[in-house]
């Protein structure tokens, strides 16, 4: 008798920074559900995203590859994601979210048998326009966790008992503008804001961070924490349904975030293209089938998520192929964890890199036009480590570009030959 490989459930929250969760020593009880989940999971105290914003962080999370190869210059998915790998193994796969940056428009539906990005692509233009007008009227920026849960649970109803599934829910609630719904609006904040005012405050924090007063900064933090508590409750509801349906106990469950969010600590808000801890330190819980509990202090990366999934479902571990390592294996306390982010606008010629160890960090920028590397902050002792990493990444990225060119040339050659253009 053969047993089906375990179901895989990946829950990610957008812009959820680790140090605002109560189980990561935050001063407010923002995450009772995740705190409880930690008692039956591996909780990673020092997990870092491979980047600081969705367009590079989610591709890394879904492919296990650094952003420089996971997406192309236009941020289209350029590497096989874990959804494709699992679909090839016979899994039914589904993704539910509402972040346009990782929508079908950028190829992120690849490998998913069912993919709902909350956009109305492919529908009649009039319906899409009407929906957009309605969203604007309701000040709706994304699908709330409640909607994501409903959609994904409905999909789970359609999965046959004998099928193994891979489910990815990506929640947007913790992303700005911060406007926690219902009772969560005043859970921490002493006043409420209209949707329009919340959006205006968030936009001003991004555009003119120096104009944000202490009072406004506190209000942004209070509202953000309210969103975290709402999202936590919704994750709780979702996990409860999975338990009731007996779909949690033997599954691999991973809960994390694509990146964090900043509140003026480094002079900026939101999550621009830097690599400071506020925007790269993420929560990470891995509940192996059957459950287990441990707090792990060794530094790890969101690049480790795909190898963890592959190891759990019994796929051969190809250590040479992967940049990360299974989170259920040995944890190296001496590990160097790297992150990267492409600059934008006037910094678009730069790529920023960071390395973290259990007690150190180092930041630098590489000018992609001149190849010059400039160290900006951090431990001098880690500079050579970053330099070696950058050399390797640049070599791989350039190698991939020439390999891709060869592929295109081969295809053109084949077609020309078929038409008799070449002898």
């Amino acid at each position: 008798m053969t047993t089906s490989p375990p179901n895989v459930i990946l829950l990610s929250a957008d812009a959820l920074r680790a140090d605002h969760l109560s189980c990561y020593d935050y001063h407010r009880e923002t995450t009772p559900v995740l705190d409880a989940l930690a008692t039956e999971s591996y909780r990673f105290e020092n997990a870092y995203s491979a980047s600081s914003h969705t367009r590079e962080a989610v591709p890394a999370l879904l492919t296990g590859a650094y952003p420089d190869v996971a997406v192309n210059q236009s941020y289209h998915l350029a590497t096989e994601s874990v959804a494709t790998t699992l679909a090839e193994c016979g899994y039914v796969t589904a993704g539910f979210h509402s972040n346009p940056f990782v929508s079908r428009a950028y190829g992120f539906d690849q490998g998913f048998t069912h993919f709902d990005d909350d956009l109305h692509l492919g529908q009649h233009k009039l319906i899409a326009l009407a929906q957009r007008a309605l969203d604007k009227l309701r000040n709706r920026h994304y699908a709330r966790a409640e909607e994501i849960n409903e959609r994904s649970l409905e999909w789970l109803d359609s999965v046959a008992d004998e099928d193994s599934f891979f489910l990815w829910n990506h929640y947007m609630d913790t992303h700005g503008p911060y406007e926690p719904p219902g009772e969560y609006a005043t859970l921490y904040a002493d006043r409420t804001l209209s949707g329009r005012d919340a959006q205006a405050l968030y936009q001003r924090a991004i555009d003119e961070p120096e104009s944000i007063t202490e009072d406004e900064q506190q209000l942004l933090l209070d509202l953000y924490d309210g969103e975290i508590r709402y999202n936590d409750a919704q994750i709780g509801t979702f996990l409860e349904v999975l338990r009731e349906r007996d779909l949690l106990e033997d599954s691999l469950l991973i809960v994390t975030a694509d990146h964090g969010d900043a509140f003026g600590e480094q002079g900026y808000y939101e999550h621009p293209r830097y690599l400071h801890s506020e925007i790269t330190h993420v929560p990470l819980f891995v509940r192996p089938p059957g459950g287990d509990s441990e707090t792990i202090n060794a530094p790890v990366s969101t690049l480790d998520i795909v190898p963890t999934i592959e190891a759990t479902v019994g796929l051969e571990d190809d250590a040479n192929k992967r940049d990360g390592a299974s989170l259920l294996g040995e944890h190296d306390p001496e590990r160097h964890v790297f992150a990267q982010a492409r600059g934008e606008d006037e910094a678009s010629h730069l790529r920023r890199y960071a390395v973290r160890t259990d007690d150190g960090l180092c930041f630098c920028e590489r000018n992609r036009e001149t190849g010059e590397v400039t160290f900006t902050e951090g431990d001098r002792s880690l500079r050579s480590v970053v330099e070696r990493h950058i050399e390797e990444r640049v070599r791989i990225e350039q190698g991939d570009e020439s390999a891709a060119d060869d592929e295109v040339n081969d295809e053109i050659e084949r077609r020309l030959s078929a038409l008799g253009y070449t002898e």
Partner: protein, 70 residues
């Protein structure tokens, strides 16, 4: 199968051409070329339609999330 009418001149040109290829007949060559062209046009149309309908919606969402200036 449906027969198509093309000019004698084009048939002659294809006959000359296929001598340098693996195509065994004018029909096979013409079918291949037409199919290549139509597939490419369809693909481009599909891409444009998909992005055309979505571009404004994507922009609108990104703006509300603080990514684009009003």
């Amino acid at each position: 199968m449906t027969e198509l009418t093309v000019s004698d001149e084009l048939v002659e040109r294809i006959e000359d051409r296929i001598q340098q290829t693996d195509f065994e007949s004018v029909d096979a060559y013409a079918e291949f070329v037409l199919s290549e062209v139509v597939t490419r046009v369809e693909r481009e149309h599909e891409e444009t339609g998909k992005m055309g309908a979505s571009a404004e919606e994507v922009q609108s969402r990104l703006q509300s999330l603080g990514y684009l200036e009003e």
